[in-house]
Symmetry: C2
């Protein structure tokens, strides 16, 4: 749609009332330049974390908070930021309306806590654009077929923004955040991390899956619907990073970046009786609750038995552990849970069909006395699980050896 621009502001960008006023002015400026802005906002600052904490505190024993209720609870964070932004813009004399995810037409499946968008009904958005309204959408949320509020998982507002941009055929989806763009690696871990001018969807998807700051599904959607994304700093005038389908011809590097995820845990199940379909029987109850598992390792300690380990997000560890110990049909010696791990990954679509990257990576980590717990690879990435305390050392060594600072 002509001149429609989607902008998403993250939690730190709407972190307090002064920041909201700053953004309000920016949006009005864009409107005055002739754009039709559709704004997606996250919850203010650490609101979501605080709400999760509260939901745990009111829970008796060590049960997990009911997910339907928790989704309604969490959705309030974005309602607060979206209405405050609308109030601020309105006081600048512009026509503006805030919409909840449901009002914005965002339909999802019914997996509470990590729902997927199934469709976007754009009638309301088109009506509001026709009325010349600036539209503020509460990110991170939608509504399921039962009419209950769902949330899209951590970082889900990115996905809201891209999905809206795709549905309304916006020219561009801008992601405003507290960093100035996408970096070769986490600048908090590697001080000479370099900002990229461009990155393609493929590499960005790996980077985001592996811990970079964007919601992976937002990149999948952007790639599928060819939505260009521009990531930049809310309070910075420097240029950001463009995420598109184009390969960056001028960049001859094979490695695009190093993704770091410090939020990794592991569950190991020792001596499971080996039977056909046993792995599926372990994983199905987890996927039924939308718990993503990541790296998987299987050993055969004794004939007829297997040891099975997998990594997962630290946030999911307790819940996954509880689910597995309640699976009475599984026979095994013991289940061990562990956190305090990191995942470090070399990413680059330039690596495809070229060899030697994995062995170089293992050698660099060995030289640094970093022990590797698990390994997994794809066409365009190599991932190692290591101890969290080794993260900085490992990332800096890899960044330097692969010359990502240049």
């Amino acid at each position: 749609m002509n001149n429609v621009i989607v902008q998403k502001y993250g939690g730190t960008s709407v972190g307090d009332e002064e920041k909201i006023k700053h953004i309000a002015k920016n949006i009005c400026k864009k409107f005055d330049e002739g754009y039709k802005p559709i704004i997606v906002v996250s919850a203010m600052g650490s609101t979501t974390d605080e709400l999760i904490k509260m939901s745990k505190k009111v829970t008796f024993s060590d049960k997990n908070p009911d997910l339907r209720e928790r989704d309604i609870l969490l959705s309030t964070g974005e309602l607060v930021s979206s209405t405050l932004l609308a109030i601020s813009i309105k006081s600048l004399g512009k026509n503006v309306i805030s919409l909840s995810g449901s009002q914005a037409g965002i339909l999802t499946n019914d997996i509470h806590g990590s729902a997927r968008i199934s469709d976007i009904k754009i009638n309301r958005l088109k009506d509001e654009i026709a009325k010349n309204n600036i539209i503020i959408i509460a990110g991170f949320q939608g509504i399921n077929p039962n009419g209950d509020i769902t949330t899209l998982g951590r970082g889900g507002s990115d996905t809201t923004a891209v999905a809206i941009a795709a549905a309304i055929k916006a020219d561009l989806c801008e992601i405003y955040t507290d960093v100035e763009g996408i970096y070769t690696t986490d600048p908090k871990v590697v001080y000479n991390a370099r900002k990229l001018d461009k990155i393609n969807y493929e590499d960005m998807l790996e980077m985001s899956v592996l811990g970079a700051k964007m919601h992976p599904r937002s990149i999948e959607l952007a790639s599928q619907y060819k939505v260009p994304i521009y990531v930049c700093g809310t309070f910075s005038s420097k240029s950001g990073t463009l995420i598109t389908g184009e390969n960056n011809m001028e960049n001859n590097k094979k490695i695009t970046g190093i993704a770091i995820d410090k939020n990794v845990a592991k569950i190991s199940i020792k001596k499971i009786k080996d039977q056909p379909g046993i792995i599926a029987r372990i994983l199905e109850p987890l996927s039924a609750k939308s718990i993503s598992i990541d790296v998987i390792v299987q050993n055969t300690p004794d004939k007829g038995y297997i040891d099975f380990s997998f990594s997962l997000s630290e946030d999911d560890l307790e819940y996954a552990h509880e689910i597995l110990i309640n699976e009475k049909k599984l026979k095994y010696d013991s289940i061990v849970k562990a956190n305090g791990l990191s995942k470090i990954s070399l990413v680059g679509s330039g690596m495809q069909n070229e060899s030697g990257y994995a062995s170089t990576m293992f050698k660099v980590l060995g030289d640094q006395h970093v022990s590797i717990d698990m390994i997994t690879t794809s066409e365009i990435r190599i991932t190692c699980l290591i101890n969290q305390i080794d993260t900085t050392k490992a990332a800096n060594a890899l960044h330097s050896v692969f010359e990502l600072d240049k």
Copy 2:
């Protein structure tokens, strides 16, 4: 409906996570005793005040926050408390569901900020009762014919509870609060204020309109639909106060109580040119914005001119003042706004057709050197506007002279 009981918990009763857990246990006990509880909750502690403060902070210049947006913002407070309570009850192993005002079928008119309930669609409530679910309803909110969230005004959760009780034909509506019942006057102002065992709707309505802790419309509704209300302390085992249609025969006192409202402001318009309909022209723009005005005084300083003063809530003062100075068609010398006033009222249906109460009241205030700014009376009450600093002195003297402590 058989065994259905409506309970409302106020802001201090759900003030923190521990209090929510305490309430959750009480509700489960009631459920186990065979009741079908429908719970209405206010926002936690001072949440609503904090949200109002935020809405003012994001507003440029001295504009008032957009009321549609502010209503969505404020409604989040009750969504948080209702879902936390539901999570807590669920973790005790009970079936429970939280419903927003809209989901609970609460339809209102479209006066944002002080909407009136127009109807309650009880289908969803009946379904959830049939499923044996404990129902938690977010108080204070409904939905207007445009599908926008509305709020019912300060204390509106009381009205939600009574309206639900009336619609579902509950046996009783219990209001749990931070005081143990209805007192002859505010115990914070008069230390020997006495708790009433019973009070009739008529007296309670006057008391609540005049500053006692309940939402006046909740009493109107209770009176209209004959819903008995029991007000008691959430964290107390002492008996509370029953509000019903019955006159309390055992209580021979003519005066039921003294209502105190410290939140009073005044606007005076000096030397308005007198014309037919001039008062209506002053008041119409205020009532259009749902600003209630209270005591009215009119003088005639010079022939052909009037001075016009009225009292209103301190919360509305700035907004009302802004509306009036923008009414370009009004011709006058000056508008003066003032706050720092109190309203003190003798209330008692026993006063009807008996004389002498007003003169006694004025004499008591005179003896205490309390000057009276405005006076208004009804069949069952006498109200004086005084300076806020004189409130304690005046209330104690009246309470003692009319023997309310006995």
